[in-house]
């Protein structure tokens, strides 16, 4: 059962052991522990004994759904990642638990993703994907109203953004472990910008089908935990991702500078720090990647600002509406 790399397989997001440096891996474990502790507190009240079979079956569903292939071109096929879908249907915090179990079992039972790298794999696929999916879905639903078209748009945007952001985060973690892997950031983001389209189409169709066949399922979880907290967490994670991308970029430039210094014979390392942000500097061999990274950082910061702005506007408008006695649309 050799899995061919031609599979546009989202398994490319599962970082195996050996790629992350030990400090980076430990940081990921710490972050995952903190978020999980918070998630367990969030879900403690709504998790009656009834919820445990539901969440367990949902996690098994994610495994099964990932085995439904989506034929793309020739022999290649893609499949669902599922973070955004589960997040939309069962609510963000229970979805974090479901996806954590999925990622954990993938590592333990199937060696899809490493045991030490499990922290970051959880953060990327179970936390970042789920919460940013919930944030995007929630914001767009609020902005666009409750029609079917707005449901489709919000779902597809949520799926796409969740995949692209978790892929970008994966790239940043690789680059933070080894500056030679800097190119992983634009590569991951770029490839998954395309894979994310498949995720968006599949998730959109799935949610529409559920909305038609069993609308109750889609709305029974509206009170599944604190959505506001999930949105705040998501915004925080996006900002952290932007900052991390930034610092990875700036800390890995000296490596390249040393090479320049060697090439030109002044290797005595008395390099002015200002040189490190020299704008027209490019790494030999991967020209254009720096441009790509800057675009991603800019995009991430812009997205974070936009989300903050929109969030503020929405809250402002809501409180305005509340004071003027008009009933809220949601």
């Amino acid at each position: 059962m050799i899995r061919l790399p031609i599979f546009l397989n989202v398994a490319a997001l599962h970082i195996p052991d050996g790629f992350l440096s030990v400090p980076v891996a430990l940081l990921g474990l710490l972050l995952a522990l903190i978020v999980l502790a918070y998630t367990l507190r969030q879900t403690r009240d709504l998790l009656g004994e009834r919820q445990i079979p539901l969440l367990g079956v949902m996690a098994a569903f994610v495994f099964a759904a990932q085995s439904i292939n989506f034929p793309v071109l020739g022999g290649t096929s893609g499949h669902l990642l599922g973070g955004a879908l589960v997040s939309i249907v069962v609510g963000p915090w229970p979805a974090v638990l479901v996806m954590t179990v999925v990622v954990g079992l993938q590592a333990l039972l199937f060696q899809d993703g490493g045991l030490l790298a499990i922290g970051w794999n959880i953060v990327n696929m179970a936390v970042l994907a789920v919460l940013t999916g919930a944030l995007t879905f929630g914001l767009l639903k609020r902005l666009l109203g409750s029609g079917r078209t707005s449901l489709i748009i919000a779902t597809m945007a949520a799926a796409w953004i969740s995949v692209v952001l978790s892929a970008t985060a994966t790239g940043v973690e690789l680059a933070a472990s080894d500056s030679g892997l800097l190119a992983a950031v634009p590569a991951m983001a770029g490839i998954h910008a395309i894979i994310g389209l498949g995720e968006a189409l599949i998730t959109g169709a799935a949610v529409i089908l559920i909305a038609r066949a069993r609308p109750a399922i889609l709305y029974q979880n509206q009170d599944a935990g604190d959505y506001r907290a999930a949105y705040i967490f998501a915004v925080g994670l996006i900002i952290a991702l932007a900052v991390a991308t930034f610092s990875v970029l700036s800390s890995s430039l000296p490596d390249g500078l040393e090479r320049v210094a060697l090439d030109y014979g002044f290797a005595d390392r008395a390099l002015d720090p200002i040189l490190r942000i020299m704008p027209d500097y490019t790494l030999p061999g991967i020209e254009g990647n720096i441009g790509g990274i800057i675009v991603i950082i800019g995009g991430a910061i812009l997205a974070a600002l936009l989300i903050l702005l929109v969030g503020w506007l929405v809250r402002h408008r809501q409180s305005y509406r509340a004071t003027s006695g008009e009933s809220s649309r949601i």
Binding site: P5, N9, I15, G18, V72, F110, Q111, D112, I286
Partner: protein, 266 residues
């Protein structure tokens, strides 16, 4: 089509009770993680030491009645990700090993060493993880995780997931069979219809699988209530740490420290 699932649960789990297999699940989890941590702490380029650790792994596998050949066969799962490391060949500065003919890009010696180190360590780590799951029954693994203070909710959700994994997978494979029976494919292996249509069909399959799963979880819950479920899963599994657990962990920890020190300072 049916075998398109990307993982197999029916791996030959040895029923052996020799070697590592006889240890407490907690010790096995800790040993596997410690082994992988040791590998990650080694500097790049120490291929002799990587080889040594691989031999240690193979010897422990053989002593536990697990063939190293099986470990190698299953370890190909980690291969695709190795492509992510390819850029190391070009971005690490250093003496040129060879220049790619058309592109004119240099592959440096240091880059090649870093690339080979990452891929090798990753490959060995995967085999350690495979050995862990071969030598530990899933129920015991869950018990071990709980023993290592994994939150109880996560462990019980994971237990349910494992229980229903095959059930939902066969549900998914029935959906795939139905799709195959109803949609024409061209001989080149291309699916019928437009890309958008194929994506929509996949989405509908996923959606209906989700509805079926949720309804099934209702039935499961009711069936469990009928059997006295109170939210707590009880297992018959009981383990305790014995002297062989302490000894193996002590020996492993000492060896790891020595190997790491040797690799860094000699």
């Amino acid at each position: 089509m049916i075998e398109a699932t990307n993982t197999d649960l029916n791996s030959p789990k040895t029923e052996s009770q020799s070697g590592l297999a006889s240890l407490d699940p907690r010790s096995k989890i800790l040993l596997a993680c410690g082994f992988i941590l040791t590998l990650s702490l080694l500097p790049p380029g120490e291929f002799l030491i990587y080889g040594l650790l691989l031999i240690v792994l193979y010897i422990s596998a053989s002593l536990s009645d697990c063939s190293p050949v099986y470990l190698v066969r299953r370890s190909v799962i980690a291969l695709p990700f190795a492509f992510a490391a390819v850029t190391l060949l070009f971005t690490i500065p250093g003496e040129s090993l060879l220049t790619l003919p058309i592109l004119g890009i240099d592959i440096s010696v240091e880059g090649a060493i870093r690339f080979a180190s990452i891929v090798t360590r990753s490959w060995i780590s995967v085999q350690a993880a495979i050995l862990l799951i071969i030598l530990t029954k899933v129920a015991d693994l869950m018990w071990g995780l709980q023993g290592l203070h994994t939150p109880a909710i996560l462990v019980s959700v994971a237990g349910f997931t494992y229980r229903y994994l095959d059930v939902l997978r066969s549900e998914a494979s029935r959906l795939r069979t139905a799709r195959q029976a109803r949609s024409a494919t061209l001989s080149a292996g291309r699916g019928g219809g437009t890309l958008l249509w194929r994506a929509r069909v996949t989405g509908w399959m996923v959606g209906s699988l989700m509805i079926r799963s949720m309804e099934r979880s209702e039935r499961i819950y009711n069936a469990m209530l009928a059997r006295g479920y109170t939210g707590e899963v009880k297992t018959l599994t009981r383990f305790e740490l014995r002297s062989r657990d302490y000894w193996s962990m002590l020996v492993a920890a000492l060896t790891a420290v020595i190997i790491i020190l040797v690799a860094h300072f000699l």
